[in-house]
Amino acid sequence: MKRKVRWPSYLIAILIVVFFLWPVLYVIFSSFKTLNEISSPNPTFFPDQWTLQSYIDVFQKANFLRYIGNSFFVAVSSTALAVVINTMAGYALSKFRFKGDKIILIIILSTIMLPLEVIMVPIYRVLTFFGMTDTYAALIIPAAATPTGIFLMRQYLVTIPDDLIESARIDGASEWKIFTRIIVPNAKAAIATLAIFSFMWRWNDYIWPLIAITDMNKYTMQLAIANLNGEFSMDYNGILASATISMVPMLFVFLIFQRQFVQGTAQTGMKG
């Protein structure tokens, strides 16, 4: 049933696009302005005089290539770990009945409510206990077990028909084989979704790396951006340039994986 869409809908849709996009575009264009133009009392949307100076400064003053690399490494590793353990957990919680299954799920879900800042001190104590402070592991491991990730996987895996699993069991397949040969291939869509979300979360983390990492060689992008704030002054150009560097890759990630984003968001939200 195709209905015709009239022009007011397009007009509204485009106006909303303007509302959502101009702040980002304004920041991106401003990152190509000169220092004086940025502090000018009559700002313009486009630079009067295009310059890459902010970018050159940012890469010269701080080791931004390294921070981008770190963010990438942390996000990819944590995502790989998250995919493995959350798919496993999702499988257990969706396809088995066992003592404590409900309680485990409820506990996991209830921690969605827990703001990280609230348990930061105890987490830091735990990190210290394991000698994990100031390591990549501190950024990669704790963040991998996200409640949202488990929930997403569980919701998806529930929809895989039990028959598939049962017949494999009858054929004598080991549980691990069932997991790798049946569950994983059938959950590809959900896995892709979880991977993209997890990448986005880790790429954007700020408070946690701030507390966990001291060694500047292990700094992530977000830390480096915040680091451009001094006691009294703020390196506007640097912040705008680095903010641009941090958000543009995400746009491409989204354009490429749009379908997975949509599915993932929809699934986490579909059912309580």
């Binding site: 994990m132 507390i211 001291t214 009294f232 703020m234």
Partner: protein, 401 residues
């Protein structure tokens, strides 16, 4: 199932691997400008001379306190850190005595612990002062002091600066959103906070009330732009825009203002009963429990040597806390001489009085809150009421525990 076991082992190996040995020797740092780069150069030189590697860790100032506290609390205290007076107060139990490490008679701006031991090496001093936009002042025919000994009073200052009124003027001026920018105006009125520390104060004297009232009026009228002081908390960037006649701030802006397109400079702050500025400054402290206590002392001793210390102050450049410092401020010479002049024109009773405020836990935040209340006055209180509250809180804080 084997793969599962494998996964576990990898997981634990990862945890275990990362956790062995003590970390590198660290110097935790925050920067407003190039001081991090200059310090890195000195650290490289130190490594070349002694073979000891010290890692520079830069942290955003906003997160600095949290970061330092977490590190110390987690048993990962850094060997060294760049600290403010506030940090020295908060971490007085954690910093190491530096008694005998360097010659303290050569330095100003020293900090001592309860036993009278020096606890940090002063690295740089800052002074409050006033930046002006000469282009704007000239355009509105503001008559400002030009000679070396000439200092204006707050009344003439107000009259002259009030000429700044036009489309290209946002406000006559801005003042930074910090208590230590406001306090000189009290000291300039000839008022020290403490009559007898820490029981009676001079805060409710007429001179103090008048000085406070003046600040309140200035904000009320928009003579001091509230926007710059409290809201944006970025008065330097406002001044850069060229729409303000003056900016009461610290000398660190000299470096940041070098690329301004208008003609600017530094003028002595107006006087009331007398001239006064507040000395501040960052120092370097060593921490207990880093595992590098002796190495940290060694580095501080090295850093305190004339050539190295001057190299730091000259590199940034900073006003130096070292009495005999020979520093070529280069392009900043004209401006920095005004700041040095402010420092020498300030009676020592005021500097000592200021130290009394910042060396007790919780005193500086109280003054900061007072400054904010004076600027914004959300509850419509009188100057006297605000000062009475300040007095009560300061006495309470000084006598707590």
């Amino acid at each position: 199932m084997k793969k599962l076991v494998l996964l576990f082992s990898v997981l634990f190996a990862l945890v275990a691997l990362t956790g062995c040995g003590k970390g590198p020797m660290q110097l935790v740092w925050f920067s407003d400008g190039v001081e991090g780069t200059v310090m890195q150069g000195l650290l490289d030189q130190y490594e070349e001379e002694t073979g000891v590697e010290i890692e520079l860790v830069s942290v955003a100032y906003d997160s600095y306190e949290a970061k330092l506290a977490t590190m110390i609390s987690g048993g990962n205290a850094p060997a060294l850190a760049r600290v403010t007076e506030g940090h020295l107060t908060n971490y007085q139990d954690e910093v190491i005595s530096l008694e005998g490490v360097y010659d303290t008679t050569k330095f100003a701006n020293l900090f001592f612990n309860a036993d009278g031991d020096v606890v940090s090496l002063p690295m740089d001093v800052t002074a409050n002062g006033m930046f002006v936009n000469f282009d704007l002042l000239d355009a509105y025919e503001v008559d400002y002091p030009t000679g070396d000994d000439e200092v204006w009073t707050w009344d003439t200052f107000y009259t002259e600066m009030s000429k700044l009124d036009g489309d290209d003027v946002a406000a006559p001026g801005v003042i930074d959103h910090k208590g230590h920018r406001f306090m000189p105006l009290i000291y300039q009125a000839g008022v020290t906070v403490w009559d007898t520390p820490y029981t009676t104060t001079n805060l409710t004297s007429q001179a103090a009330v008048d000085a406070t009232q003046r600040i309140m009026d200035y904000f009320e009228e928009g003579f001091f732009d509230i926007d710059g002081a409290y809201d944006t908390q970025n008065s330097a960037s406002l001044f850069r825009g060229g729409q303000y006649g003056f900016h009461i701030s610290g000398n660190w802006n000299v470096a940041g203002y070098q690329d301004l397109t208008f003609d600017w400079g530094v003028l002595p702050m107006p006087k009331d009963a007398n001239r006064a500025t507040i000395l501040g400054g960052k120092s370097m402290a060593a921490f207990e429990g880093s595992g590098y206590e002796q190495e940290a002392k060694d580095f501080i001793a090295w850093m305190a040597q004339d050539a190295h210390h001057d190299a730091y102050c000259e590199g940034v450049p900073f006003l130096s806390p070292r009495y005999d410092a020979v520093i070529d401020f280069g392009d900043y010479e004209a401006q920095y001489s005004v700041f040095q002049d402010e420092i020498s024109a300030t009676a020592s009773e005021y500097s000592e009085d200021w130290f009394n405020q910042i060396l007790i836990v919780g005193m500086y935040p109280i003054i900061n809150d007072w400054a904010q209340a004076v600027a914004t006055n959300p509850d419509g209180k009188t100057a006297l009421q605000l000062l009475q509250e300040l007095e009560t809180e300061l006495i309470a804080a000084a006598n707590a525990e």
